[in-house]
């Protein structure tokens, strides 16, 4: 346990050092920070935009904005929460732009497209209808129907496995509010599942 804590502390101090160097204009240090965070940032942006290209653009906008504004960040240990907010804001703004352009996403029709593969046979006695719903990505489709802020907090909690307290810090809200939002998002997801079940 002690070794784990020391390793975590060491990783934290390395990150702090990188952030400090990047603040002073070291693009190489910032590149290392990007390497270790780009996937997470992309997933967060994708959770809001549900679109690969838009999520990539928003991630790029956010990380470049983070680089530009980094000298204004006073507390280097707050870097990750600060970065999460920038990514989330960039994605939300991108979403607004997309709404302005009235893009319409067209789902592929089966004719001419690759037909979905049937699910492998399962032991019906060992499974519940909800398990099937989860497996055939009905949950994913329900997720896509949620509000961006609900999707964001679900991804932070269930995909990125961030503790509620850290999510609260990232979003700049009290823990109680974060819990409430997470609860509400989960409720909305379950409600959306009703249409899929």
């Amino acid at each position: 346990m002690g070794a784990l804590i020391r390793a975590a502390d060491a990783a934290m101090s390395v990150d702090d050092a990188l952030v400090s160097r990047a603040r002073t204009g070291d693009a190489g240090a910032f590149g290392v920070l990007v390497d270790t965070r780009i996937d997470r940032c992309y997933r967060l942006a994708w959770s809001i935009l549900s679109n690969d290209a838009d999520a990539a653009d928003a991630t790029q906008d956010a990380l470049v904005a983070a680089w530009r504004q980094l000298p204004r960040l006073r507390d280097t240990s707050a870097f990750d929460g600060w970065l999460n907010r920038i990514v989330a804001n960039a994605a939300l703004m991108a979403r607004r732009r997309r709404v302005r352009l009235r893009e319409v996403s067209v789902s592929p029709a089966y004719p001419g497209e690759e037909a979905p593969q049937p699910e492998p046979a399962q032991d019906p006695l060992a499974r519940t209808p909800m398990d099937d719903v989860v497996d055939n990505d009905a949950l994913g489709r329900a997720f896509d129907r949620l509000r961006p802020k609900d999707r964001m907090i679900l991804v932070l909690h269930h995909v990125e496995e961030r503790p509620v307290a850290e999510i609260a810090r990232s979003l700049g809200i009290p823990v109680g509010t974060a819990k409430w939002r997470l609860h509400a998002a989960r409720g909305a997801l379950e409600k959306a599942m009703e249409a899929e079940a």
Binding site: Y42, V64, M130
Partner: protein
């Protein structure tokens, strides 16, 4: 009860498969290329010295005050105030008319759940009986001095002081609106119940546009007076506490400011947007095609704190007149989003005021830290400690103080003096199955507090923990038939603690057709 219940594992598994695992190839190079050609913005020299006083409020992580001293002080306070309550109880009418006194003299008992005189019996052994239950969707609570059982489907209401004899509420009976209370959330102190819910809850769905802001409805029950219904704030209640000093509510706006600004600037404002800044109650939208927009939040009927949904607090001595809590200084990082009520998430009433749990913004623990705050007047707050991992578990009223507990291992008891871990904690930790620390999976335990004490039903161990004071405790097996009644993993049990008995709602059946069972545990003589 109709929505499918998803487990954490199902959500994590399905979302993990649905959300892309990695950023697309080439994105990293695009970013680093853009960084090479982007100049960093250097801050202007500042004459303002960054305040560091906040650090003085923090204790080192893991350090705790002398726990036994605090327990003894709390116990002495409880005894003293209980004696006062007995005297006051003998002077007051049978049904308490709410007099939420803000005078310095404590006017009511410190016990949190309406029992001026703790039950004389010392036994903590429960004998269990399964009750016949016709309801399909039962909601049960201990309100004032009785159990209230509401069937969500039919709206039928039953009350009982002991869980044995039940009175079915008939048309014409005084009804404090229990059916509505139990639909939402509520807080209690003695005979006073404050419940809240939002009539738009059901309409804020997938297919409907969410409201820019919503108002929670507050129902205040003060027997024998008729309940009052108010909507004092433009916002939703995150947490609410009622205590001898009055009512405190933590409210947030549920505000979609982005959509709201669009109503001011039109749909194309994003094309010219350069940045947003919020200070001193003014939202400034920067634009590259003009001077931008300054929005005075108060002029629009909102309160400072709405932006970024940081929340704000209200205090009322009587449920009628409300005062906005003064804002606390912004956080040292100066980003303006953590300033107001940073340390204020959940709140409960305690014998000498209120205790709130919020964020310790300077916490470096991986799991975050809880900042604990006390207020004697509901308006001004002082930090009484910060604990790593303190956001785990629930914050509950108990013994005139506040208990942060997961019911099986964490038993942090807070008073205005600070933290004390209950003496039984270490032994219970070893005796009952604990949450999985790696996955954060909660244990299969449900718990509740009430006049009888703290009761935990551990389905993992098929045992029941009962303690009156956190010092003496009893862990006893539950009947096999009771354990068998919790066979539906999609619904958690609920534990409602009364004065001499405990009600436990268990769930079996399938997801599509859950079957509730109601068990009553009665103190043996």
């Amino acid at each position: 009860m109709n929505a499918p219940r998803l487990t954490d594992a199902q959500i994590s598994q399905a979302l993990g498969a649905h959300v892309p695992d990695r950023a697309p190839a080439g994105l990293r190079e695009r970013i680093t290329g853009a960084v090479q050609t982007t100049t960093q913005q250097r801050p202007m020299p500042s004459l303002v010295v960054r305040a560091t006083a906040l650090g003085g409020l923090r204790r080192a992580e893991g350090s705790r005050p002398n726990r036994w001293t605090l327990v003894l002080v709390a116990a002495a306070l409880v005894t003293l105030l209980a004696a006062a309550a007995i005297f006051i109880g003998s002077q007051r009418p049978a049904l308490l008319s709410i007099q939420l006194d803000v005078s310095p003299t404590p006017a009511v008992t410190p016990t949190a759940h309406g029992s001026p005189t703790p039950p004389a019996v010392a036994s903590t052994k429960l004998s269990w009986t399964k009750l016949a239950l016709g309801e399909g969707s039962p909601q049960v609570a201990w309100l004032g001095d009785q159990f209230v059982l509401v069937d969500e489907d039919s709206g039928a209401v039953r009350t009982s002081t002991d869980g044995v004899s039940w009175h079915v509420l008939q048309p014409g009976d005084p009804d404090p609106g229990y059916a509505e209370l139990l639909k939402g959330k509520f807080a209690t102190w003695q005979d006073n119940v404050v419940g809240w819910w939002n009539p738009e809850e059901g309409t804020v769905g997938i297919a409907n546009k969410p409201p820019i802001t919503a108002r929670d409805i507050l129902r205040i029950v003060r027997p024998p007076a008729a309940p009052t219904v108010t909507t004092p704030w433009k916002g939703r209640i995150g947490s609410l506490a009622v205590g001898p000093k009055g009512i405190v509510a933590q409210v947030h706006s549920h505000l979609d400011w982005d959509a709201w600004v669009t109503t001011k600037l039109g749909p194309n404002w994003v094309s010219h947007y350069t940045g947003v800044d919020y200070k001193n109650g003014i939202l400034k939208i920067g634009m590259d095609n003009g001077p931008g927009l300054n929005v005075v939040w108060a002029d629009e009927g909102f309160l400072p704190g709405d932006y970024q949904d940081a929340g704000f607090g209200w205090y009322s001595p009587d449920g009628e007149q409300w005062t906005l809590m003064p804002a606390v200084p912004p956080s040292p990082d100066g980003d303006g989003v953590r300033g107001f009520l940073t340390g204020f998430g959940d709140v409960v009433g305690v014998s000498d005021g209120f205790i709130a749990r919020g964020i310790d913004t300077a916490c470096t623990s991986e799991n975050g830290c809880a900042g604990m705050w006390f207020s004697s007047d509901g308006l001004t707050w002082r930090n009484i400690g910060n604990v790593p991992g303190g956001s785990d578990g629930l914050l509950l009223q108990w013994m005139g103080g506040a208990l942060v507990t997961d019911g099986v291992g964490r038993f942090d008891f807070w008073t205005s003096e600070g933290l004390s871990e209950l003496p039984m904690a270490e032994e219970v930790l070893a005796a009952l199955t604990q949450p999985n620390p790696a996955s954060g999976t909660p244990s299969g335990a449900a718990f509740g507090t009430g006049p009888l004490g703290l009761v935990t039903v551990s389905m993992d161990d098929q045992e029941v923990l009962v303690t009156r004071d956190g010092v003496d405790y009893r862990i006893q097996p539950m009947p096999a038939a009771m354990a068998a009644d919790q066979a539906n993993s999609r619904a958690r049990p609920s534990v409602i603690v009364g004065e001499r008995s405990v009600l436990v709602v268990l769930w079996s059946g399938t997801y599509e057709a859950p079957i509730p069972s109601l068990w009553r545990g009665t103190l043996e003589p």
